[in-house]
């Protein structure tokens, strides 16, 4: 505790850095997931291609990404962009599959009804399919969020791990308290992000709790958390 107080500026700065570096991939993945999810849901071929491609990218260990990306992007190895891009790739990989599932979860009857009452396919997408896919999208976004926050710290090995710096520094100085504080603050950020997402979900989709909170669908949402 005393260490934390004495180094509050360091820990605070690293936490801000952590928030910044992990928020970007989360937001990017959400934005990317809507068109990609739509595409995956619309055509069988694009779905197969997307799932295979991102499945492969998802399998590659993150440290391998952190090291190889600079030569692909033409950046310096210490540039934080590498870590952000790598995390964004994982985030999108999770969201592509999640979005395909999400749009899948919209009942066909509802879509047909929407067409029957005169929605064009564009307005049907924005006003019917997207809102109804929302809860499953949110569930996947929560997985993305918690994963990104925890994964970022590995970036410390390539000089960009935000709070992961405390792991390496504490380890090298044989000082467990510092490592523990790094873990604790990483967990706090993960929890805060998750609560923010849940809050946004409640505001944007007030119906989701009432309708989808029973039985198996609760597992879908909860499990993905």
């Amino acid at each position: 505790m005393q260490w934390l107080w004495e180094n509050r500026d360091l820990v605070f700065g690293l936490s801000l850095e952590h928030v910044r570096l992990s928020a970007i991939p989360i937001i990017v993945s959400l934005i990317a997931s809507v068109p990609l999810g739509w595409l995956a849901n619309r055509f069988r071929v694009t779905r197969a291609i997307q799932l295979t491609l991102f499945g492969i990218l998802f399998t590659i260990p993150s440290l391998a990404f952190f090291i190889t990306l600079p030569s692909v992007l033409g950046t310096k190895i210490l540039n934080p962009i590498n870590v952000v891009v790598a995390l964004a790739i994982y985030a999108i990989a999770i969201m592509v599959r999640g979005a395909a599932d999400a749009f899948d979860s919209v009942s066909r009857d509802v879509i047909q009804s929407a067409t029957a009452v005169g929605f064009s396919s564009v307005s049907r997408f924005w006003k019917v399919e997207l809102p109804l896919a929302g809860p499953v999208l949110l569930a996947n976004l929560r997985v993305v969020s918690v994963t990104t926050v925890s994964l970022l710290s590995v970036g410390a090995l390539v000089g960009n791990g935000a709070l992961g710096y405390l792991f390496i520094n504490g380890y090298q100085r044989d000082f467990p308290t510092e490592v523990m504080i790094g873990i604790a603050f990483t967990l706090i950020i993960a929890i805060v992000f998750d609560q923010i997402l849940v809050g946004i979900g409640r505001i944007l989709m007030p119906w989701a709790r009432a309708a989808g909170d029973s039985g198996r669908s609760a597992l879908t949402v909860g499990s993905a958390a």
Partner: protein, 245 residues
């Protein structure tokens, strides 16, 4: 350029064997993976089957899979090592801890996906609980159980990369040495090797998954309702992040 240099390193026969060779480090990587996966299976499978069969403890599974994802494995490993000292066991314990949630989740959601009426029918024709579990539930749940194990294995392989940072070897050692010595060819070669191992392991496990699943069980997921979000439930639960490394 770096890529070609790294490939040259990998395919140079001089780098295959010997103390710091690719083959011994690959073997070590597989050893860490095997030990951790074995430990995780011994603990995770019985718990997952128990929860799945009885239906009790669903919230436990949800809380477990959710919260474990948040733990930064790298930090946890370094923290433990500061108390235990360097060695194989801290690594195996941390990797097993990492792998247990997806294994439990896979086993649980596998059993959960089995149609209740099928289980009732098995009970009605006089099967004991043990028979129901062994002859009905597990075979039908096999795709998802294996899916959980597959995702756990990949996480272990990816995360075992950090062994190179804590006095052990494995393929991650190339990455760590390369970074420490600013020898990016070496680091790049390590990255290619780890990525290749992960992809090969994923491919092998995908094939195993196809071979082991009994005839007639397509993907172990309820297909009765055409477009329900049931299908997404198990995959969201078992699909876990590729952590660390």
């Amino acid at each position: 350029m770096l890529f070609l240099a790294a490939l040259a390193f990998i395919f140079d026969p001089a780098n295959l064997l010997g103390d710091k060779g690719i083959l011994p480090r690959l073997m070590d990587h597989l050893l860490y993976t095997g030990l951790s996966l074995g430990a995780a299976l011994l603990i995770g499978i019985p718990i997952g089957l128990l929860i799945g069969h009885t239906g009790k403890g669903k919230n436990f599974v949800i809380a477990l899979t959710g919260s474990f994802r948040a733990i930064p494995t790298f930090g946890l490993l370094l923290f433990i090592i500061l108390f235990t000292g360097l060695g194989l066991w801290p690594l195996v314990v941390v990797l097993a801890v990492l792998a247990i949630p997806p294994i439990i989740a896979g086993a649980y959601s596998g059993l959960d996906s089995v149609n209740r009426e099928t289980i009732d029918a098995a009970r009605a024709i006089g099967m004991t609980e043990r028979q129901i579990l062994g002859k009905v539930e597990i075979p039908l749940a096999l795709p998802l159980i294996l899916g959980g194990i597959r995702s756990a294995t990949l996480q272990i392989i990816a995360t075992a990369t950090i062994a190179g940072y804590v006095g052990l070897t494995g393929l991650g050692r190339f990455l760590i040495e390369g970074l420490a010595l600013h020898d990016y060819t070496l680091a790049f070669a390590g990255a290619i090797l780890v990525a290749a191992l992960a992809l090969v392991a994923d491919g092998v496990l995908a094939i195993v998954q196809k071979l082991v699943v009994p005839h007639g069980v397509s993907r172990g997921m309820a297909r009765t309702t055409t477009r329900s979000n049931r299908r997404s439930a198990p995959s969201a639960l078992t699909r876990a992040p590729i952590t660390e490394g």
